[in-house]
């Protein structure tokens, strides 16, 4: 098995989420095994352009998967030109994913920032599949403006559920926004934690830094906070050495790390 060679996949749906954000749904051209854990990542190729890393999100169909992209670089710009029926390359899944087996009976806080939402969505969908197995589930999501919010339709549905608390905030309101305004830590002000709570966050470094501080302030220790880390990745298999933090590779040992373990590394995570 050559770890560098992608499998061909076909886009079955492209959905606009926000001005510069789209969700791509794909299916492998040849039927292939693709078992993943929420929080794992994949490498997406636009042939002739290059490869980029995204979080994997499951769909209601077993052989179709999604990833959400913000148009911000070369590969993502090329992806934005693709439409239903176009062929891409997929490598992965890579990395560890969330410790889903250790979540039974836990109260779970999910914190997402901007387009750091996909891994958190992946985990939330996993938890909702077997909702009874867990305690309280709370989702906190922040974006720059109301326009920038992704998964709007899903958020509306989750909001209706009685067994899920959803709080959304934007850094800057625009006309018509009736929700909360402020960075994501401002909706965590009164978050309740107990000895049974675990938190999972994904977003920009600066957000995760302040969310960690806020959660600690609320009484949650670093060994119960998990971060999905972002770094440049070229290979996804622990070879190219671009994504290390100290002696761990984000692509292989991560991307999910317990925050206390991150701070034991020689190099600081943020």
């Amino acid at each position: 098995m050559n770890p560098y060679i992608p499998k061909l996949a076909r886009l079955v749906k492209v959905k606009k989420e926000a001005p510069d954000v789209k969700t791509f749904r794909f299916k492998f051209v040849e039927k292939s095994k693709f078992n993943f854990v929420p929080g794992q990542i994949l490498m997406v190729t636009v042939f002739g352009i290059g490869e980029a890393t995204f979080g994997i999100v499951p769909t209601e169909k077993r052989d179709e998967y999604e990833f959400t992209v913000k148009k911000i670089g070369t590969v993502t710009s090329a992806l934005f030109k693709l439409k239903k029926g176009d062929v891409i390359g997929i490598r992965g899944p890579f990395g560890n994913g969330y410790p889903v087996k250790e979540l039974n009976g836990r109260n779970i806080l999910l914190v997402a920032g901007g387009v750091g939402f996909p891994p958190i969505k992946s985990l939330l969908l996993y938890l909702l599949k077997n909702r009874k197995a867990y305690g309280r589930i709370e989702l906190y999501y922040g974006a720059k403006t109301p326009e920038d919010l992704v998964y709007k339709k899903e958020l509306k549905e989750w909001n209706k559920r009685k067994d899920l608390k959803v709080r959304v905030t934007v850094d800057r309101a625009t006309e018509g926004w009736k929700g909360h305004v402020g960075v994501v830590t401002t909706i965590l002000e009164d978050v309740e934690v107990d000895e049974n709570t675990l938190a999972f966050m994904c977003g920009p470094s600066i957000m995760m830094k302040f969310v960690t501080l806020k959660l600690k302030e609320r009484g949650l220790s670093e060994d119960r906070i998990y971060a999905s880390m972002e770094r440049l990745m070229e290979c996804g298999v622990g070879a190219c050495a671009h994504c290390n933090i100290g002696n761990v590779y984000v692509c292989k040992d991560g991307p999910v790390f317990r925050v206390d373990k991150l701070f034991k590394l020689v190099e600081k995570p943020w």
Partner: protein, 332 residues
Amino acid sequence: MPYILPKTEVPKLLDFLLSKKFDVIAPVETEDGIDFESIRDGNKVTLNYVNTLFPPKRFFLPNGEVLFEVRKRKGRFEIIETVEKTKRVIFGIRPCDVNALLVLDKLFIDEVKDPYYIARRKNTLILAVQCERAGENCFCYAFGTDKLNDDYDLLFVPNGEKYFVKVSSKAGEDIVKKSGLFELTNENPPKIKLKFKKKFNLKIVETNLARIFNDTKWEKVAKRCLSCAGCSIVCPTCYCFEIEDIPEFDWGSKRHRYWSSCLLQSFTRVAGDFVFREKRSDRIKQFVYHKLLYYKEKFGVQLCVGCGRCIEVCPTDIDFFKEVERMVGVKK
């Protein structure tokens, strides 16, 4: 029992290998100095060198190698793997550089199972030549990489006008037998004791590295560094790479693998222009800690063999090893 080969017979040996359809890589004189090249005439070889300008890394991890081709025909994509399987022999490789390959084997063979590297390693015979003298900046002894166990096909130990040749593989044995140039001997190869000018106390450095991560002296080193990445380029173990797709005019594209360096700012740049190691001192630390700490924690060996090329090549005369010793307080 070892064999004997007069030094003057080396060109004939290389010609023999050429006649057996091997791609022969050997040290030759170039415009810039002694370096490995793929040769077509055994007489081009030179035996008069301490070590080559560049390590033989590029024969195992060539800069820009093609990983695969993507051909587009009638709207269908086809991916063609391009693993190179040329039969090769490298003559004149020094023990430090052979050890560098053993260090890389741990990652590329054991861990990643990189098919490109594996094919090149498997298809390349190692004809190592022991050093007669140490260079200005050599400090292989500090890593124990001046010695080889049996990680070669043939090992040439110099003794005056001849080599004592030790055989360590069936392929090596075949060369000895079939070339008809070697003579069996019951003498023992000489023990060469090299004199090293450069000192390096790995033990003290290793035990104190974590402690000095936030030392302000790193900033001083950074002020002298130009981030030219020369040290990475000449390093026999610097393997970090980037992957690039290059479109081909009318039929598809190729995916290439290029050398990279943690000393470059772009090394950790993600989309949106965020750079994780923006400060030069952070990048220097990445270089030093990857070499002396992180790799060892993962694979049990340092990512350095003490060849000294990085010291030799640095345009501003930075010796990372000397700087680190200074920071941990090694007394000279």
